[in-house]
Each structure stands twice: as C-alpha cells, then as structure tokens.
C-alpha cells in the first residue's frame, strides 16, 4: 500500500516537473525564445560570400576556404566542376589557384599522375563561407600573434 502510494507520488512529481520544464523558455541560448518543446522559426538563410578574394589561412595546415559561391556545382563520379577552373591544365585560362601537389599524393606519400581519389571531393575540406554573423564570438589568435608575445618588449 505504501509502495503504491510512493509510486503514485513519484509519477505525479515527475509529471509536474516535466510540465514546468517544458513550459520554460530559455531566451539566452542559440535556439532563441522558443520553448523547449516547440520548434522556433528557422532563421533566414544568409547568402554565400562571393567576393572571390583570397582569404588568409588561420594556420598553415588549414585547407583554404572557398571565397565564392558554389551553388549547383556537381562534384561526383561523373565530373568535378571545381576542377574546370582549379585543375593544373585549366589555371592559365581561369586564373584560379591550382590545387596543390598534396592532392596528387596517395596515403603513402607517392605522387600520382592526376588527382588522388581521396582528395577528389573538394567540399570534404574546402567550404564556401556564409555572410551570417556568428552567434558565438571566437577569440582564436593565430600562432604569429602567440609567438610575438615572447619577443622582448612585446605586450604579454
């Protein structure tokens, strides 16, 4: 009897707790003022950065970002639209940067005659950039800034 009562109490408190939780609105989070049990309106899509101006890499190993729109570019078994401009033989006409020699290497570091299959799908590493303002700020500093702190007279 006591056990049953305890179970009922537990169930009632759980129900009450979950309803208060669901009714809560968390306005500080990225999801906006929408309650947790509802889907808020989707934010508008922002256009892709399309200036075609080369962007500085944040660290040497970073795959360069794509400074232009790539809407509708087909990259699959049939063809690779990116290579229409960035392939070695196409760069004279297109003035686009050639994809680096690392793209010709297989995983043992051997150079192949053409683009290695593992480097064929460009957007696995290279991405176009949105014009949206980031919802979370970023305090990343690059290695040059970090190293300059060590120089005599530099601000620490």
């Amino acid at each position: 009897m006591i056990k049953k009562l305890a179970m009922m109490l537990l169930a009632a408190s759980l129900a009450a707790g979950s309803s208060t939780l669901l009714a809560q609105s968390v306005s500080s989070s990225l999801r906006g003022p929408a309650p947790l049990n509802e889907e808020g309106p989707a934010p508008p899509m922002q256009p892709t950065k399309n200036t075609a101006e080369k962007e500085v890499r944040n660290y040497p190993e970073q795959p360069p970002v794509i400074p232009h729109s790539i809407d509708g570019y087909q990259v699959d078994m049939q063809g690779n639209k990116c290579l229409s401009c960035h392939a070695r033989a196409r760069t004279a006409e297109s003035k686009a940067p050639m994809l680096s020699i690392t793209h010709f290497m297989d995983r043992d570091g051997q150079f192949l005659a053409s683009v290695s299959p593992r480097r064929y799908f460009c957007t696995q590493c290279h991405v176009s950039q949105s014009t949206a303002t980031p919802p979370v700020s970023n305090d990343f500093v690059d290695i040059d800034t970090v190293l300059s702190h060590d120089k005599p007279g530099a601000k620490r």
Binding site: N50, T51, A52, E53, H68, S69, D71, G72, Q74, M77, Q78, G79, N80, K81, L83, S84, A87, R90, K95, S114, V115
Partner: protein, 220 residues
C-alpha cells in the same frame, strides 16, 4: 528443280489478284483527278473560295495548336523517361525555382522559337517517339548509360546555334555586369563579350546532371 517449281506454281495466282487491286486503285485515282480538274457545276466560285479559306484556317490553326500542345512542360513530362530523369533533375536547379519566379520549361531551352527551326526540331524529335515506343531509355540505368550521347547532341546543337535558346532570355546586351560577382564579370568580359566562347562552353550541367565528363573539353 521440282522444289523450285512448287513455289512458282503457288505464287502465280497471287500477283494476278494484287494486280487487280492495284488497277482498281489506279482507276480510282484517275477518276479523282478527273473530278478535281472539272469545273464545279453545283457550287459557285465564291462558295468554293470561301470554303477553301475556312478549311485552310481550320487546318492551319489545328496544326499549330497541336504543335503547341507538344511544346508544353506537361506534354514533355507525360512520359516517364522525361519525368523521372531529366525533369526530376531540373527541379533542383535555378531554372526551375528562383527568387524572381521565372521558370524555364522544357521547350524554352530544347525547341527553337523560330518557326522553320521549330518544325525541323520537331521532325528530329520523332526519333524520341521511336525511342519511347521501343524503350531505349526506359530504365534509369539505360538512361545513364546513354546520357553522354544524348548530352553531346544537345551541346552540339547549342554550340552550332551560338546558344540561341539561352539568349532568348539572357542577352549579352542587357547583362549588367556590375550586378555580377567578380568572377562572373571577368569571365563574361573575356569570353562572352568577345565572342570567344558561347554560353554552353562554360555552363554545362546547369539544368540537368552531367554525364561522364572524361574527355569533354574543359573537364577532367
């Protein structure tokens, strides 16, 4: 020898019968020509001219109306080869849905607007009816196998007419390059305005998926 004689013997009555049919048909044609050449003794000249005019309007209008019905997106996507392959692919592209709400439907790009060119293209398209009846691309696999061949036909046509169907909507004269991205400005100034290249040279695969592009100029 005897075996050769037998078919000859059985064959001889048949040509006679056929000759009779041919002769009767020929007689009918001769009679018809006779009637057509004789002046009418019942209808007046005005009635005949008017009737001919009305019949001409009906035939010509009917012909063009029927032709225009075959020039609609609904007609083109009436067969599953088009609906499930090329039309399905078109739906994801900018030529199907875009910010200004203008849609290019099948004939806008694939049928010339000029009348004689249109008739020529329509006659060519009878090959496509043949292909439909005999199921030359009635599965996705058969279609993808022949996609390069089909695409090459269209590319050759666009190249030969200087991308006429593109230019029905996109003209170099009314293209405001200050509204374009820097890459587009550069490419259009260098290749389009100088006439060095035509639209299809760079803009392949903008409305449908690409075939195997190995060996196609400008592709890897």
């Amino acid at each position: 020898m005897s075996s050769a004689d037998i078919p000859q013997g059985t064959g001889t009555p048949a040509p006679e019968k056929r000759l009779g049919l041919v002769r009767r048909a020929w007689q009918f044609v001769l009679d018809l020509i006779d009637v057509l050449l004789k002046p009418s003794s019942i209808f007046g000249l005005g009635v005949l001219v008017l009737a001919g005019f009305v019949a001409g309007v009906i035939f010509w209008g009917g012909f063009n109306t029927a032709l225009e019905i075959t020039n609609t997106e609904k007609f083109c996507t009436g067969c599953h080869e088009m609906k499930d392959n090329v039309f399905a692919e078109l739906k994801t592209t900018v030529h199907f849905s875009n910010r200004s709400g203008v849609r290019a439907s099948c004939p806008d790009c694939h049928v010339p607007h000029n009348w004689t060119d249109k008739i020529a293209r329509k006659m060519q398209a009878s090959k496509e009816v043949w292909g439909h009846l005999f199921g030359s691309i009635n599965t996705r696999e058969k279609f993808t196998d022949r996609r390069l061949e089909l695409a090459l036909h269209e590319w050759a046509r666009f190249k030969a007419n200087d991308s006429l169907e593109c230019r029905n909507c996109h003209s170099a004269q009314s293209m405001d390059i200050t509204k374009q991205s820097p890459r587009a400005v550069e490419a259009h100034q260098r290749f389009l305005f100088t006439g060095e290249k035509t639209c299809i040279d760079c803009h392949k695969g903008i409305a449908h998926h690409l075939p195997d592009m190995r060996g196609v100029p400008g592709w890897q």
